[in-house]
């Protein structure tokens, strides 16, 4: 996409990119460095004290060795968060892929394609918290689902696990973030050369063979990008876990929030570094499956 013949035309590129770059230097790079530095600081009840100690880390992992084979709090929290990641990832992948596949290959007119894609996009532009609380009248104790099930004599007592439960957390994640799968996979599919499909068809491929041998491999970049989005969002989330879990379900992101509410910045920073490490590890593993850089 770079046009070499524009290189010496007009304002130099670095100057144009400078304001953009400075924003990320001031509000992203420096803050991240500070998080790492402060994670090694000491603290007391009301302030953080510059130092170089590993207190925040040792406290975070406290009892992890002695309590073996039982898992300590932090490992349990990360294991539980990872479980949510896996469930939400699998669901959004199946839903996102199916929707993108439908839009890309079964809708004939481009206008219709764009309209339907927009229909999927619009909720993404509205408030996440509103979309979370909008499940309350459906899933609550006296909500529509329970009313309907009791009315149909399927159950006698209202189901308690519908709201403020792991179920509602996972449901809200899928509801909120399926778009992050639909968009990149749709984008990848739209780039597939239609002649490849024709060729496969002419060579006698069934619909299923076409899907598994042509479309899925060529959609891999979109799948990878969507997967990274969804997994990192769930890993770092504390709002969905808080609102939909009734503040009762632990997560890696909530562990940081709890420390912050107590104004314990160094332990919060240490937890942030651990979270960052865990997230990077997951991305590195995914990157081994698909070379994201090459595919962009």
């Amino acid at each position: 996409m770079s046009s070499p013949n524009l290189d010496r035309f007009g304002v130099p590129g670095w100057l144009q990119a400078l304001p953009f770059g400075l924003v990320f230097l001031a509000f992203f790079i420096v803050p991240l460095i500070l998080v790492v530095i402060v994670s090694f600081w000491d603290y007391n009840d009301y302030e953080m004290l510059p130092a170089f100690i590993t207190r925040s880390y040792t406290e975070s992992f406290e009892g992890c060795l002695t309590s073996l084979p039982d898992l300590c709090t932090i490992f349990r929290t990360y294991l539980s968060t990872a479980k949510f990641c896996l469930i939400v990832w699998a669901l959004t992948l199946v839903i996102g892929f199916t929707v993108a596949y439908y839009l890309a290959f079964y809708i004939r007119s481009t206008t219709m394609q764009m309209v339907l894609f927009l229909v999927c996009t619009i909720p993404f532009w509205t408030s996440n918290v509103i979309r979370m609380i909008s499940w309350i009248p459906l899933l609550g104790r006296n909500g529509l689902v329970n009313q309907a099930l009791i009315g149909a004599h399927v159950i006698n007592q209202p189901l308690e696990w519908l709201l403020y439960s792991p179920f509602s957390v996972a449901l809200a994640f899928v509801h909120l973030f399926a778009f992050f799968m639909v968009a990149p996979i749709f984008n990848s599919m739209m780039r597939i050369d239609r002649r490849l499909i024709e060729a496969a068809y002419d060579a006698g491929a069934t619909g299923w063979q076409m899907l598994t041998n042509v479309i899925i491999p060529l959609s891999k970049p979109g799948i990878a990008i969507g997967s990274i989005f969804v997994v990192t969002i769930v890993m770092g989330d504390f709002i969905t876990f808080g609102v939909m879990g009734g503040e009762q379900i632990a997560s890696a992101g909530k562990a940081i929030e709890t420390r912050l509410n107590a104004l314990q910045f160094p332990p919060a920073a240490a937890n942030a570094v651990i979270l960052l490490g865990a997230t990077m590890l997951i991305i590195a593993v995914m990157n081994r499956i698909v070379d994201i850089r090459k595919e962009l």
Partner: protein, 294 residues
């Protein structure tokens, strides 16, 4: 597979319709429930239809300073929109050329999307707390006296929102310039246009509808942002943050009224943006130019 409507088509259509119902159903439910009668509760049945809860919301009684939060979010959203369009456009233009550090800047931008929001928020909060400490301890007394904090909606808050809106802005710019036919610019230059003229009279008019889209991302992402805002807004919370706080404390349909109002603003902004994009496209077409069709 493109000939005739296969059974797969109908199955997938049904799936897609269920997905759309899943996306919009809950929002429609709280839209209906926000018109709950004065004696109604958080769930069905509706006990009458009224605008009682909207009136209560408007009067401001009971809830925290929603009006103030609304105005703050709106003001911040507008500033973010302008900055997102401007900075993304400049960066988008920059990335069409080669410049030192372009790879690094790209990775940093993508990393900003991927690093968990709470980590970024914490980092910015630490940064501003340290700045506060420095000012209080080392600044000359005419600054340090009476100094409270450098943290606020339009300092740390603005920065935090930009780390979220700008990556989307840049990705949209990439999509725009990927489809942009550079020959228009070359033609302009061959005809003796200065770089500024070529930008002002050739590039900008062609990409203007898409820039509205960048602005739409900027506003809506800022309008709904919580995770990054959580630690950096200082003493004044934005609307979605207040809303999140209310989810645990409010047990009347007033919260649905607030939800309907917020979603209404989002929809209004989306509608205005989509309408502008459509109008600008139509204007381009009317003027007989084949710009953007390449």
């Amino acid at each position: 597979m493109n000939e005739g409507r296969s059974p797969a088509f109908y199955a997938l259509t049904a799936f897609f319709m269920l997905f759309v119902l899943f996306l919009y159903g809950p929002t429609i439910v709280i839209f209906i429930l926000s018109f709950q009668g004065p004696t109604g509760g958080l769930t069905f049945p509706l006990s009458g239809v009224s605008v009682h809860w909207f009136e209560k919301l408007w009067a401001g009684g009971g809830l925290v300073d929603i009006g103030g939060a609304f105005r703050r979010s709106l003001a911040l959203g507008l500033v973010i929109t302008i900055l997102t369009v401007l900075l993304s456009l400049l960066a988008g233009l920059a990335f069409r050329k080669r410049f030192p550090g372009s790879d690094l800047l790209f990775y940093v931008t993508v990393a900003s999307l991927i690093v968990p929001s709470i980590v970024t928020s914490l980092g910015i909060a630490l940064e501003f707390r340290l700045i506060d400490d420095l000012v209080k301890n080392y600044a000359p007394s005419w600054i340090a006296d009476g100094f409270q904090t450098s943290m606020g909606n339009f300092t740390s808050g603005l920065g935090a929102h930009l780390t979220w809106t700008l990556p989307f802005g840049l990705l949209v710019m990439f999509a725009i310039f990927n489809r942009f036919d550079g020959r228009f610019e070359e033609a302009a230059r061959d005809l003796g246009a200065t770089p500024w003229q070529s930008l002002r009279y050739v590039v900008l008019p062609i990409i203007l509808p898409s820039l509205v889209g960048v602005g739409l991302f900027g506003f809506t992402l800022s309008w709904d942002e919580i995770a990054r805002s959580s630690q950096v807004m200082g003493e004044h919370n934005t609307l979605p943050m207040e809303l999140q706080g209310l989810t645990t404390s409010v047990t009347t349909p007033e919260i649905y009224a607030l939800g309907t109002a917020t979603t209404g603003v989002s929809f209004a902004v989306i509608a205005v943006a989509l309408f502008s994009i459509g109008a600008l496209r139509a204007r381009q077409a009317r003027h007989g130019s084949d710009a953007g069709k390449a």
